[in-house]
């Protein structure tokens, strides 16, 4: 695998090596290179930027069918480890550089978390600030959290049909909560369909984590352009 010319935002051999280590799914090498750059005095944010550039390539390769969910998982796990390594020295997504703020939850009555957590990692890798509220979360808690962080997006994950009603309840509360601009609401999970999206009143539905990341990115870019 090769990162390819112009594939990452930084320049130089260090950037290319780090990117390639992620594309090789080499966790140890990625951490070793990150630590070396940190020890050399490089700003943690630049290291994260390079990791995000690699994750962008991973996402692009997933979109073209070259990679599968497995590769998203592996790269996401590596990204998480780098962030954990750098976190003490890093305010990961400061207000100035975040793509947007996302609140994620699996709602009341459902304790499935794997898909949601994969999505959270991929969103962070794409530059979003993610507040992952966990599982079995009440709609009221979602509204409180979304308001507290001024969320631009709220995502609900579900693997049970019984959560459709709770998604609908939460969506209704969010729409009526008096936000300056109501957050966009997306839903995902194996049992969701476009009919479920319409039923709960969400803006977007997917069973594909990267499709969800792409949608959030597009919407965030449109908002920034004032469209």
């Amino acid at each position: 695998m090769n990162a390819g010319a112009g594939a990452h935002s930084g320049t130089g051999e260090a950037t290319a090596s780090l990117c390639q280590a992620i594309l090789d799914f080499d966790s140890d090498e990625t951490l070793r290179l990150s630590l070396a750059r940190l020890d050399a005095g490089e700003a943690p944010a630049l290291i994260i930027d390079d990791c995000r550039a690699a994750m962008k390539i991973v996402g692009d390769r997933y979109a073209t069918g070259e990679y599968f969910l497995a590769e998203l998982i592996l790269a996401g796990e590596i990204f998480k480890r780098v962030v954990e390594l750098l976190r003490p020295r890093l305010q990961l997504a400061g207000a100035g550089d975040s793509q947007g703020t996302v609140v994620l939850a699996t709602l009341r009555g459902d304790v499935h978390y794997i898909g949601k957590d994969i999505f959270a990692t991929l969103l962070e890798a794409a530059g979003f600030t993610v507040h992952n509220l966990g599982v079995d979360v009440s709609p009221e808690r979602v509204v409180t959290a979304a308001r507290a962080v001024d969320a631009e997006f709220v995502g609900f994950s579900g693997l049970l049909t019984t959560t459709f009603e709770v998604m609908k309840e939460a969506t209704g509360l969010l729409r009526g909560a008096g936000f300056g601009e109501a957050p966009r609401i997306l839903i995902g999970g194996g049992v969701t369909t476009s009919d479920v999206r319409d039923y709960v009143g969400a803006d977007f539905q997917t069973r594909d984590a990267m499709e969800g990341v792409a949608w959030c990115t597009q919407v965030a870019q449109r908002v920034r352009r004032g469209q």
Partner: protein, 387 residues
């Protein structure tokens, strides 16, 4: 309308023999959560009382006019997973969850990396019974036995006779997770994915023995029951999760062994396939004997495309979507079932079922529409292209 000329058993047998039945056989994976919902019994009460749960299953069968075969005779209570060696912690309403919650699994790394050695040394069944089962309930073997024994007694004394009295039989002599799927569940998705990519030989150390053991277990149960079907669950290996090289290396060879062993006994293997297997379907046609398998699809795989690819080679089982059961209208359900019969079941080769299992909040009118349309709708056309 359909003129019924076959018994339930004849109808199911005809489809499994790749012959045309009088009408499509109806075999939903009808789970206890749905039965309790349709009977107005709270999940907490039902899951704590397996006899009540069994009574609810029978009541729905009787009140809704029945269907053609069962997955199994016992209700899927909270400890059923323990009894059937599923490497998962089950969270039961009324015990681990609120009274009105649905039964759920809590996936966690219950099998450690070091356990691969234990599985290799002990075999899967011994490892599960002597090590993992205790770990799953945070108890000892006596406590495991105390949970399982009442279920076995209920199955023997009540369930099997009650269903036999209704003239409906289970389709499967045995149901189990594919060895790949069992490891994925027990290790958890992320850790198992790392095993496959970073430590493949560790996984390959146990897969052959787990496969042999599964074949032996299936064979024993087929011989004991006389039922000519087994079910193999797999929800984690499709192209939704993994590239073909993983499928070809860690799943396909073992699957071929299982299916060929069963087929040599005249037994059809049903695959319970969740997630989108669309890109994997050609492997079934290429590598498995004609008529040796049934694919249960969960609506994420396009069953109509699967029909075009596998027509005359394999049998399809599905796939009323969960969302349609839960929030759809009876007319929508009926229209979808008619489409299934018209386009997938027009020439046999279809067992009418639901995506994965019946929804725990399935509307009564939708379940009725599903069954009644399946019983009465005669196919109107041969295929989409000829419609």
């Amino acid at each position: 309308m359909v003129n019924e000329t076959m018994t339930r058993q004849e109808r199911v047998a005809a489809v499994l023999a790749m012959e045309q039945p009088d009408r499509v056989p109806i075999v939903p994976q009808f789970v206890m959560g749905t039965a309790l919902h349709l009977c107005g019994v709270s999940p907490g009460r039902g899951y704590s009382d397996p006899e009540l749960a069994h009574t609810c299953m029978l009541r729905v069968f009787d009140e809704y006019g029945g269907w053609d075969a069962l997955y199994e005779t016992s209700p899927d209570v909270a400890d059923s997973g323990l009894a059937s060696r599923q490497p998962l912690r089950f969270l039961a309403p009324g015990r681990d969850l609120p009274d009105d919650a649905a039964l759920q699994v809590h996936e966690a790394e219950v099998i450690t990396l070091a356990d691969y050695d234990l599985i290799a040394d002990m075999g899967w069944a011994r490892f599960f019974d002597e090590v993992l089962a205790c770990r799953l309930i945070d108890g000892d073997r006596a406590q495991v036995e105390a949970r399982i024994a009442p279920l076995e007694k209920l199955a023997r004394d009540r369930c099997a006779p009650d269903w036999a009295a209704r003239g409906v039989q289970p389709m499967y002599a045995a149901m189990d997770a594919h060895p790949f799927f069992a490891l994925s569940l027990g290790r958890s998705l992320v850790r198992f994915t790392e095993d496959l990519y970073y430590r493949p030989k560790v996984v390959e150390r146990v897969l052959p023995a787990m496969t042999r053991e599964l074949i032996e277990r299936f064979s024993r149960k087929v011989t004991a029951s006389g039922i000519r079907g087994v079910l193999l669950g797999e929800e984690r290996v499709s192209a939704f999760h993994y590239p073909p090289r993983i499928f070809e290396r860690f799943w396909l060879p073992y699957t071929i062994q299982i299916v060929e062993a069963m087929w040599s006994m005249g037994v059809v293997t049903t695959f319970h396939l969740d997630t989108d297997f669309g890109k994997n379907l050609p492997y079934f046609r290429q590598h498995l004997p004609r008529g040796s398998y049934v694919l249960q699809l969960d609506h994420t795989t396009d069953i109509f495309a699967a029909k075009e690819l596998l027509d005359g080679h394999g049998i399809l089982h599905g796939d009323l979507p969960a969302a349609l059961q839960s929030i759809g209208r009876p007319g929508d359900v009926a229209a979808y079932v008619e489409k299934l019969i018209d386009e997938v079941g027009y020439n046999g080769g279809l067992i009418l079922g639901v995506a994965c299992n019946t929804a725990p909040d399935c509307k009564p009118e939708n379940f009725r529409a599903f069954l009644e349309t399946g019983r009465t709708h005669a196919p109107r056309r041969r295929s989409r292209t000829q419609a």
